[in-house]
Symmetry: C2
Subunit: 458 residues, 2 copies
């Protein structure tokens, strides 16, 4: 028997499996991305719109169906609910991610490599995961003890105003004082209010991340701590010897509980089992929100990307030995700018992530950057403008107004002061278009798919 055939027969018997995770900070477009990805694969073989995915282009992608996921205790990704939102009148964007969810697809395909002579098909089991990028912002928290974490927190610039109520109340706290349980809960709630206000105001670099999406832990002491100010001058030895009922010891205990029972379990039970990962970034939204938020997004992403830095020195590698072997980073909502801006959007994303990308290359993690629209809500047109062809977008605003506009030029690298002075960019949010029966319209979702799963479909 020829060697190729033997290998093929062996591979045919073996089920291939891939665990692909989608993340990003809130409003980055995670739900839209996964919804469209599943929709495309389910339409495979019929009306899929996946020209950049060779298996689809060559007609080798035969179909995909949902099968039972492995972990029965994790919510299933609400694909049907997302489609129902898109099919509402008027169409609506699906509800945002609130925690981890998963969905398993069984994909049928025909191998495309030259040595293949069998008529049989193969199966790829694709486990899809969706989780809040905010959870990854908590990784650095594992490198701290409570005192050093307190010292690392900064409340300056616009943040100062958002945290002013809380700061006023904690300014004079004595770390040694006996804790008043009810008062501590109040102060922690003030701090959480500050975090929520900061998120509303467009800030991204916020922690502890779980304070913003407490779920069933709402009201649990583990989510009731905050950085104690004024520890810079404190003697660590004195702090360490404060009695267990003291304010300092109580807050430190909760901080440790948060590390052990909130941060670590996510990495241990989920993260380290992902094979591939895509990180979505709403670059345009940040561009629209002004220099301070843009700077903040950059800081948050740098922090978030540490979870993918498998360098030898990395905390993550030491603790969890993760195994992601391919990473994609994508600027989403590319349909919100005109097509000739797309390369600039990708360039801007790369500038924004320059530092983490350098670390990742050093650590030999293959990364690809791209811009995409998971569910395209606009059409690109051209109009005459003073005798020139001017590219514009046609779409329907969230308020239901049909509109034709040129949102502006995306800076191809990090914007400088003059960009912000000109306020060169006006972001308009569009409503999704009614579905036409085929797969959802998108921009370069297939390019992302090719990078993330293409090699498993050969």
């Amino acid at each position: 028997m020829p060697r190729n055939l033997t290998r093929d027969l062996l591979e045919r018997g073996r089920d291939r499996q891939l665990r692909l995770a989608v993340t990003g900070l809130s409003r980055a477009g995670k739900t839209a991305f996964l919804t469209s990805l599943i929709d495309q694969l389910r339409h495979a073989g019929l009306e899929a719109r996946l020209d950049l995915l060779p298996a689809a282009r060559e007609g080798r992608l035969l179909g995909a169906r949902r099968v039972e996921q492995q972990d029965l205790g994790v919510p299933r990704f609400p694909f049907d609910r997302a489609l129902a939102a898109l099919d509402a009148d008027p169409p609506q964007w699906p509800e945002p991610t609130r925690g981890i969810s998963e969905l398993r697809l069984s994909i049928r395909y025909r191998p495309g490599r030259p040595g293949w002579i069998g008529g049989d098909t193969r199966r790829l089991t694709l486990d899809l995961f969706d989780y809040p990028g905010e959870w990854l912002l908590d990784l650095p928290l594992l490198e701290h003890d409570f005192a050093s974490w307190c010292r690392a927190q900064r409340f300056d610039g616009e943040r100062a105003a958002l945290f002013a109520d809380w700061q006023r109340e904690v300014a004079d706290l004595d770390p040694a004082q006996e804790v008043d349980e009810a008062r501590l809960a109040e102060l922690a709630e003030r701090y959480a209010e500050g975090l929520r206000a900061a998120r509303e105001a467009g800030f991204s670099d916020l922690q502890p991340g779980r304070f913003l999406l407490p779920g069933e832990l709402e009201g649990a002491p583990v989510l009731q701590f905050f950085p104690l100010p004024g520890l810079d001058e404190a003697d660590p030895a004195v702090l360490a010897q404060l009695p267990p009922e003291s304010l300092y010891a109580t807050l430190a205990r909760r901080f440790r509980h948060y590390q052990q029972h909130i941060v670590k379990p996510f990495y241990r039970d989920h993260f380290r089992r992902f094979d591939r990962q895509i990180v979505l970034v709403d670059v345009l939204g940040a561009l629209n929100a002004g220099p301070e938020r843009f700077e903040d997004l950059s800081r948050a992403l740098t922090r978030l990307m540490q979870s993918f830095d498998y360098g030898r020195r990395s905390l993550l590698s030491r603790l969890f030995a993760p195994r992601i072997d391919r990473l994609a980073i994508a600027a989403t909502k590319a349909d919100h700018v005109t097509p000739e801006q797309h390369p600039r959007l990708t360039g801007l994303l790369q500038s924004l992530l320059a530092e983490p990308l350098k670390d990742l290359r050093f650590a030999d993690v293959p990364v690809r950057a791209l811009s995409l629209a998971a569910i395209r809500a606009t059409e690109a047109r051209e109009v005459d403008h003073r005798g020139q062809r001017q590219p514009v977008l046609r779409g329907t605003t969230l308020e239901g107004e049909d509109t034709l506009l040129f949102p502006g030029e995306v800076p191809a690298t990090l914007p400088d002061a003059s960009f912000w002075r000109r306020q060169g960019f006006t972001f308009t949010a569009f409503r999704p278009r009614p579905r036409d029966g085929g797969a959802l319209p998108h921009i370069r979702l297939d390019a992302a798919l090719e990078w993330l799963i293409g090699d498993k479909l050969t």
Copy 2:
């Protein structure tokens, strides 16, 4: 040194601790009970209204304050939020229990026993827990495998209509068919809708209990199963050999996951550590809802009480070795009937629980039955009625109407057909009265406290 003194000194050094849990089916009044209990103890030594608790009556109860609970990952009982609701204008009942919560009180008291000669005080650490009684309805599920559980489910009487949609869709399912993941989720949602409709309609005997309060498990496959009809004639050996992708095997797998990862952890991590327990029952509400719901409550309570039957044969003892050494059962909302009806209310409760009480006595678990109002919302008055003194209640309805009424006679034992024909009882829900600054007004909450913690304050 005299012996008594030695013992006292020893005991003084030792922190006493007691774990007291409150449960009951939804709307039984758990939140009001715990709120009032905490409020009374916090007022101890000042304006407490606890004449039936000797430690308070004798002025030995010095105070209570909230301290940090042991398990930082369990939500704290929302006492402040409950008080805020009572202080709203108009006053409102606190939000109901949705999961487990806890709160720790440190109680200071002076021992009252004759041998006591020290001037010192002692401390009792009281851990209070609140959890949905619906969780206990799942205990019997541990005695089943999936097939026997399916056979045990009945959908007759008024329930038939509530589950009609679901029953129509599952009637012709073939246990051997390959499962369609999306379709299964739909059918499970139909079943959960039936459970929710049944609860809305006043039924209590509903399982699996966690389907009604899914929390973070919303959408997880472990909450997506249902009893498969028509298994009565099926051959167990044939069922057991169906392939893993079959409908039957898939449902059975989820049922087992529910047993192992939902039902057991509650008993293992929480229930078996409770020292004392009070079960609250809204007997009056059930009396008002008619014979079928009353019968259903009786069935649900019988099932719920199995969690307290520590007889040698009991599943619970074998699995979890719980240690509850005192149990109270209380008919709540006693302020919704006139005072001379209270003994009848207690009698009715005892009739309702006759079977489980018999088992408990046999198993030597000390139980006390009583009627109480955790937060008294009415005043008892007398009016002239055809020359006779007629007891009445004065209160404000939920709609804000001041009213004076006689709700009717409570049957002292299980009501017979003639009672239901007469419709002898009209239940009116009252709004709480504005707080007067002292502890919350109540009826016999102190009697419950005496039974549940009194012996620890001597």
